[in-house]
Amino acid sequence: MKWYQHFRILLPSWKFFESIGHEPLLFYRLGPQGTAWVHASFSPKKFSWGQLIIHPDGNLYWFYISTLQTLTLQILDSQGSQGIPIKSKTTKSANIIQTTASFQILKHWILNHVKGQRKNAPGFQAIKNNNTLVQMKISVKEPDSKDVHDLFTSDWYSLS
C-alpha cells in the first residue's frame, strides 16, 4: 500500500450494505483447561432517544464490526487460495496476523471484557486469579445458514 492510499477516506464509494457476504464472528475461551467457546458480541443493550445525538457505545460497536471485518480479510489474504484454517504457533502467518493492529485491538478488547465479566457472569466463576489464559478464534458464518467455518485460532494470552 502506498502512503497516500491511507487517505482513501477522501474518496468514499457510498456503496453501503452492497452485499451480505460472510459474517465474521469472534469467539474466546478461557484456559488453561479450555472452556467452551463464547461468542463475543458488543452490541448495545440499552436504547434511548438521546443516542440520536450522542451514541458512543453504538459507534464503538460498529468500529468493532469493521475491525473484525478487516482482520478477517487479512486472515483470508494470508491463507491464499487454500483456505486452510490457521492454528496458533503452527505457521509464520499466524504470528504475522497476531502482530496486526486490528488483532491487537480485538485482543485487548476481549481481555478487558473477560476481566470485567469475572465477578458477575456465571460462566466466569473459574477465574480466581490473573493466571487465567484467554484464547481467541475467528470464524465466518455463511449468509442465511447456520454453517460456521473456523479461520484462525490465536495463541493463549494471559489476563495479567
Binding site: H6, I9, I20, Q51, L60
Partner: protein
C-alpha cells in the same frame, strides 16, 4: 421557486457541519474517558499499522500523527477539534467571520488526522461525508470565485451517495429477494424492544421483508428523480431524513443523519439551479 444564494447556502452548510463535528468530538471524547481506552486503542499499537511495510508514511506526517494522536495527546486533540467546531458555528453569526476561510480548513485537517487514530475511519460513510463537506466548503471559502463549482460538486456527491447505494443493491439478487435485508436485520439486533419486534416480524415475513427491501432500493435509486419533480425537493429530503432515522433505530447509525443533513443545502441549491435552467429550456 427562488434559488438560494451561494453565500447563504455556504453559511447554512458551515453551521450544520460544525454542529455535526462538535457532536462527533464529544462522542469520541466520551470514548477516551473509558478506563480501558488506552489499553484497547493504544497508539503504539495503532501506529504500527502505518509504520511498517513499503508504503510507510513520510517522516513529517508520522511526527504529526504521534504529536496529535498519542494516548496522552488524543483527548486534548478532541477538545481542540470540538472547540474549533464550536467557534466555527458561533462565529458564523458574526458578519466579519461568516464564510471566511478560518475554522473550516482547520476543522478539515483535524478530522482527517482523526481518521488515522481509527485505522482509516471510525464510522466509515459518515466520516467520508463529513470530510467531503469540510473539503468542499473550505475550498469554496478559499476560492470564492469558484464557490459554485465546489458547492455543485458537494451537491452531486450527496445525491450520488443515495443513488449508487440503491443501484448496487438493485444489481444484487439477494437484495431483490429480500434475503439481504433479513440477514442484516438478524446480524445487528436493535437495543430497542419495539424496533426489535418490528425487525423480527420482518425477518419472519418474507413478503414484507422483500417489499421493504424494494421500498429502500426504490427510494435510494430514484432519489435524484424525486428532487427534480415539481416541488419535489422538500418531500424527497424529508423522506431521506426519515430513512436516516430508520437507520438509527434499526442499526444505531446516528452520525449519518447529521453528516448527510449538512449536505442538504447544497442539494437544494443545486436542484433549484437545475430546475430553473430546465424551466428556461422548456419554455
Amino acid at each position: 421557486m427562488n434559488t438560494p444564494s451561494v453565500l447563504s447556502t455556504m453559511h447554512l452548510i458551515s453551521q450544520l457541519i460544525s454542529l455535526a463535528v462538535l457532536l462527533q468530538s464529544i462522542e469520541l471524547f466520551l470514548i477516551t474517558r473509558s478506563p480501558s481506552f488506552d489499553l484497547i486503542f493504544n497508539w503504539q499499537n495503532l501506529k504500527s499499522h502505518y509504520e511498517h511495510g513499503p508504503g510507510h508514511l513520510p517522516r513529517w506526517w508520522n511526527w504529526l500523527l504521534t504529536k496529535s494522536l498519542s494516548n496522552k495527546a488524543y483527548p486534548v486533540f478532541l477538545v481542540l477539534m470540538g472547540l474549533c467546531a464550536l467557534f466555527s458555528f458561533v462565529l458564523s453569526y458574526a458578519p466579519a467571520f461568516a464564510n471566511s476561510p478560518l475554522f473550516l480548513p482547520i476543522l478539515f485537517l483535524l478530522c482527517l488526522l482523526n481518521t488515522f487514530r481509527w485505522l482509516g475511519s471510525f464510522n466509515g460513510g459518515s466520516d467520508g461525508m463529513s470530510l467531503l463537506i469540510l473539503a468542499s466548503l473550505s475550498l469554496a471559502q478559499i476560492f470564492p470565485g469558484q464557490a459554485r463549482i465546489f458547492l455543485g460538486y458537494l451537491g452531486v456527491q450527496s445525491i450520488w451517495s443515495y443513488c449508487i447505494a440503491g443501484l448496487v443493491k438493485l444489481r444484487n439478487p439477494e437484495w431483490r429477494s429480500g434475503s439481504a435485508l433479513k440477514e442484516f436485520l438478524a446480524r445487528h439486533p436493535s437495543p430497542s424492544k419495539a424496533v426489535n419486534t418490528a425487525s423480527e416480524w420482518l425477518q419472519t415475513n418474507p413478503t414484507a421483508c422483500k417489499s421493504m427491501a424494494w421500498v429502500l432500493m426504490g427510494f435510494e435509486t430514484l432519489f435524484p428523480v424525486g428532487l427534480l419533480l415539481p416541488n419535489g425537493i422538500l418531500p424527497t429530503l424529508s423522506i431521506a431524513v426519515l430513512f436516516h432515522l430508520g437507520n438509527f433505530l434499526f442499526f444505531g447509525l446516528n452520525r449519518f443523519l447529521f453528516a448527510w443533513i449538512a449536505s442538504y443545502p447544497a442539494i437544494w441549491w443545486l436542484c433549484s439551479i437545475l430546475k430553473s435552467k430546465l424551466h428556461f429550456v422548456l419554455l
